[in-house]
């Protein structure tokens, strides 16, 4: 009976299933990316067969951890250690790939044998030494995506590398990356004499405790952990998973509301039928189960189809981007269980209200029911046919508005958030007198930018330049608060430090000092004069500052030297701010810097944020979320309008019989759906404000978020809503015009 009921309204059931399927597909495809990455990290780290890992504590990701090679020298002398190997890992831009993982191992590493050469030569071979340019080995999946074979060249962050061989480790994550000699990787990632971590093999597992105690004494600023334990503590992946659930959840909620809508509509339509079932002795419960069963069936089908679409997406994307190779194109059973439990819960939650309503129908009233928008007529004092029709079907209109509202609201909130961050970023630089800002060119994220101080020195010597200040920017995890701690590096005597407005204490005067942002000081309950422990290093708090840029207050300022040591990039800065003697020369100087130093990217400070890779990536993500939301939201509106047309078949027949032209019917339905869209847009703006507020309340990073509502964001939201309404209404309106008056009049 459940299946027959659903098949009676095939198209609508299909649309509902599709809405849910898209949500599930998003969870499956993005989720498998995250879990694949996690599996990759796990197998890479545990595959090393190392007993212990030494790394920098609380780094966001291995790529952000820095351990000095001096540690390696000391390890050599320790009797408990049988073998050890440094490893540097980071991500760069590579020929159209925004995030490409590279690994660097020393030539004599005990781990190098894991990279089995499938084609070409190893990095240590005499052939590799003969090639022009820096040799690089590509993982098999990466080679496939980039369509490279030995002998080809590959451009990474502006430098050219020569592919000497193709390797395979069997770990999808490693096979989607590239292998370099340690020193080449250090140069590429701007971390000379630094590794991300050390793998350690003990001569006897029993010596573990003794070694750990010794090592903790020796390197109080480092963390020593077992490989498995270390793999599980990668916060970056946790964030990625959170992101996946936010996107997938959004799509699922929209799909779920659409399903509830469709189920409600279905029981309105079948009111008489339910009356008959009740009259012939069906119990409340039996009706409830029938409707609930339909919802669960729809959701499960959505889950099944979504898994298929998800798998196809992963398969398709894995052919064109390395990001999806890291997940091994495989969908973990965990993920499927998660996705299916979500859809079952969705089926129950979304189906419960319609089922309850159906089960509460009184048999006599149900038998008397004559269709239309329910017995009671609601009328607004204003508005024509379209408005009255929407007002009449209140529940459905509200549910549809929710669908559009969430769609538009989510897009708008994200956009507003990015704008807010951009505005903050701009304020951060515009607050100073610096006319030009410089970062490294071809980088995936500003935090990865590393400019050699020698370039800064050369620019400082330009006759046009008045002052130049290096700025360092990074973030670490604070285990106490669970959030980020922003670290800024600035020289005590330079221009950049002046923008931190001291409200208590002093500015920095020497190394091992920190000025702490007001927000962070309050959160951690720190006073001037206290010390603070950051990733194992202790700093004395000398001042407390305020800033109009919220996330600047969520951390502290170190001297540039301390910050460089801290992030393992001696003599490198994230960016430079330049003040000119004559500000009108700014454009010429920008051109000159870009021409003379191709490894950096200079822009006018007002334009800096516009082409920051971070925002480009975020905007890319927003586009993906927007597209997804628009598709699911559009399916929702389409479904509602189709229902509206079905329900009013007779009415449309009457209008046609009374001489209304097809055009007029088309206009009426479109008008209704566009009004629905625009009202949904209004609801979306409200939801955006609400989401924006909720985001700023999130623990950890919420305080850093500030939403910025600019006029064009609103215009875009309304445009999206309008398009949703128009697209959703087009097909139903077309169908309405195709109705034959005679048949429409006969429709029951």
């Amino acid at each position: 009976m459940i299946l027959k009921n659903l098949l009676r309204r095939k198209f609508r059931t299909l649309l509902t299933i599709l809405g849910i399927a898209i949500g599930v597909a998003a969870i499956i495809s993005l989720g498998s990316l995250a879990s694949g990455l996690q599996a990759g990290y796990n197998s890479m780290l545990t595959g090393s067969k190392a007993d212990l890992i030494i790394s920098q504590p609380n780094s966001i990701d291995i790529a952000y951890s820095s351990v000095d090679e001096k540690v390696g020298e000391k390890l050599k002398t320790m009797p408990e250690v049988s073998e050890f190997s440094g490893m540097i890992q980071g991500f760069t831009q590579a020929e159209g790939e925004p995030l490409f993982f590279v690994f660097g191992y020393p030539k004599d590493s005990f781990l190098i044998d894991r990279f089995i050469i499938k084609d070409g030569f190893s990095l240590n071979s005499s052939e590799a030494k003969k090639v022009k340019g820096n040799p690089i080995l590509l993982g098999s999946a990466a080679a496939e995506v980039f369509k490279k074979s030995p002998g080809d060249s590959l451009r990474l962050t502006g430098s050219l590398y020569r592919v000497v061989g193709i390797y395979e480790t069997g770990d999808a994550f490693e096979d989607a990356g590239a292998l370099l000699n340690l020193d080449d990787a250090q140069t590429l990632l701007g971390k000379p004499r630094q590794v991300s971590l050390y793998y350690i093999k003990l001569s006897d597992p029993k010596l573990r405790d003794r070694f750990v105690a010794k090592a903790e004494r020796e390197w109080s600023d480092l963390s020593i952990s077992g490989t498995k334990e270390f793999a599980e503590n990668q916060t970056f992946i946790e964030y990625l998973k959170g992101y996946v659930w936010v996107i997938g959840g959004l799509a699922i909620i929209i799909g779920g509301v659409s399903m509830m809508n469709s189920q409600l509509m279905s029981i309105f339509e079948r009111t008489r039928e339910i009356g008959v079932l009740r009259a012939v002795g069906w119990s409340h419960w039996r009706i409830l189960w029938m409707i609930l069963g339909e919802s669960i069936f729809v959701c499960l089908s959505g889950g099944l189809i979504g898994t298929g679409i998800g798998w196809l997406t992963i398969y398709g994307l894995s052919k064109i981007t390395v990001a999806f190779r890291m997940g091994n194109s495989r969908i973990s059973s965990d993920l499927i269980v998660q996705a299916f439990s979500t859809v079952i819960i969705l089926g129950i939650v979304g189906g419960l209200y319609p089922a309850w309503r159906a089960s509460r129908l009184h048999p006599i009233e149900a038998l008397r029911y004559e269709g239309g928008g329910g017995g009671k007529v609601h009328r607004l004092p204003i508005g024509g046919m379209a408005v009255q029709s929407l007002w009449q079907r209140t529940t459905r209109t509200i549910l549809t508005l929710t669908v559009i509202g969430i769609t538009v609201g989510a897009i708008m909130a994200l956009e507003g958030m990015i704008r807010g961050m951009k505005a903050d970023m701009n304020r951060m630089f515009i607050g100073t007198d610096m006319q030009i800002l410089i970062r490294q060119s071809d980088i995936a994220d500003t935090s990865l930018s590393a400019i050699d101080e020698r370039i800064g020195d050369k620019i400082a010597a330009y006759p046009e330049v008045s002052t130049i200040s290096g700025i360092l920017l990074t973030a670490i995890m604070m285990p106490d608060t669970g959030g980020f701690f922003m670290i800024f590096g600035a020289a005590p005597n330079e221009q950049a430090i002046k923008r931190y407005k001291i409200i208590e204490g002093n500015t920095l005067s020497t190394n091992r000092q920190i000025m702490i942002g007001k927000y962070m000081a309050d959160t951690l309950n720190k006073q001037v004069g206290d010390t603070i422990d950051l990733m194992g290093s202790r700093f004395k708090i000398v001042g407390r500052y305020e800033s109009s840029v919220s996330w600047e207050e969520m951390g502290g300022v170190l001297t540039i030297r301390d910050a460089q040591i801290f992030i393992g990039r001696p003599r490198k800065v994230t960016m430079y701010g330049v003040t000119l003697k004559d500000p009108s020369q700014a454009e010429e100087v920008v051109e000159k810097i870009n021409r003379e130093f191709p490894e950096v990217h200079a822009t006018l400070s007002g334009e800096f944020t516009n082409d920051m890779p971070d925002f480009k990536n975020s905007e890319g993500m927003i586009s993906v979320i927007s597209m997804l939301a628009i598709i699911v939201g559009g399916v929702g509106v389409l479904n509602t309008m189709l229902m509206s047309v079905f329900e009013r078949t007779r009415e449309i027949g009457v209008l046609r019989a009374l001489g209304w032209r097809r055009r007029a019917i088309l206009k009426m339905i479109l008008q209704e759906s566009v009004i629905l869209g625009l009202l949904g847009g209004g609801a979306g703006i409200f939801i955006a404000f609400l989401l924006g507020f909720l985001m700023t309340q999130a623990s950890g990073f919420g305080a850093a978020l500030k939403t910025s509502w600019e006029l064009d964001v609103f215009i875009r939201a309304i445009m999206v809503a309008f398009i949703l309404g128009l697209l959703g209404g087009l097909y139903p309106a077309f169908r309405a015009t195709r109705l034959l008056p005679v048949e429409a009049l006969r429709y029951e």
Binding site: V377, M385, E651, L658, W660
Partner: protein, 283 residues
């Protein structure tokens, strides 16, 4: 002026067949002529083809073969059927089919939308609702009106564009006897005062008797046509066509004996009722 032009509606061998496999002849070679200003009832059992006839004349449905001429013009040659439906015919349905969310006045305005300006619509709808006696109910929703009042709104709506022909499909079907009679009285009045031609499909003999011509349909054909006379004539006619009347006039021995009617009395009765024979056309 040609001969055909005298008729407002004329059908020539009108046939409508439904179904692919087992075909149903909803209309089977129907020939019919209705002059302007007539008030005609179409009677017959369910499935006899009454509604199909109305739908085909109203250009809601197309004939399988044959022709419908409206004022001598073949309906098949009218390209803009929407315009035809809006301007030339008005429709009334069994279930009033008013839009529940619109007021009486707005419902009346529907057929005029896209044809005349909003202010003209407004004035005309007021006039029409006053004409059907609902001048004080203009801003009521259909749900706030009685069944009879709703059908009056439907009458007003059918007259919105001042059509020459109104097609009413069982207009009294959902009304009680009194409301039904009142509605027919209104239709009668409008027929006489406005000169609008009405074709009323009905099951109800009492309703049919309030018109001036009755077409009886069965199996897609017009099987009888009846001109409605004065009430006494109608009563006699009804008796003439009743089972009892038929038996007596046929000279059924048992019946004559039972009612103690002799041969002479029977002949006198037959002569008295001979007018009823002449006015009934058996097809």
């Amino acid at each position: 002026m040609t001969e055909e032009k005298r008729w407002l509606v004329e059908t020539i061998d009108l046939t409508r067949i439904y179904g692919d496999g087992e075909e149903i002849r909803a209309l089977d070679h129907v020939n019919l002529r209705i002059a302007s200003g007539e008030l005609v009832a179409v009677m017959g059992p369910s499935g006899s083809g009454k509604s199909t006839l109305l739908n085909v004349i109203g250009a809601l449905d197309k004939p399988t073969s044959g022709k419908v001429l409206i004022e001598g013009v073949d309906l098949a040659e009218i390209k803009d059927k929407d315009h035809f439906r809006a301007k030339t015919v008005g429709f009334m349905f069994q279930l009033h089919n008013l839009i529940p969310t619109l007021t009486a006045r707005e419902n009346v305005e529907i057929p005029m939308m896209g044809y005349i300006s909003a202010s003209a619509r407004h004035n005309r709808s007021k006039l029409l609702l006053e004409l059907v006696g609902l001048g004080d109910r203009m801003n009521h929703l259909p749900g706030q009106l009685s069944g009879g009042q709703r059908q009056r709104v439907a009458v007003a709506r059918s007259l919105a564009n001042d059509p020459r022909l109104v097609l009413a499909d069982e207009p009294t079907g959902s009304l009680d006897t009194i409301a039904g009679q009142e509605l027919m009285r209104l239709i009668n009045e409008l027929n006489q005062s406005q000169g609008t031609t009405f074709i009323v499909v009905t099951h109800d003999l009492a309703v049919a008797q309030q018109t001036r011509r009755v077409l009886v349909m069965a199996d897609g054909k017009i099987v009888r046509e009846d001109i409605i006379g004065s009430p006494i004539e109608e009563d006699l006619k009804m008796w003439r066509h009743s089972e009892l009347g038929k038996r007596i006039l046929a000279g059924d021995e048992k019946t004559l004996e039972r009612f103690k009617i002799d041969r002479n009395q029977k002949e006198a009765l037959a002569e008295l009722l001979s007018f009823a024979n002449g006015n009934v056309r058996e097809q």
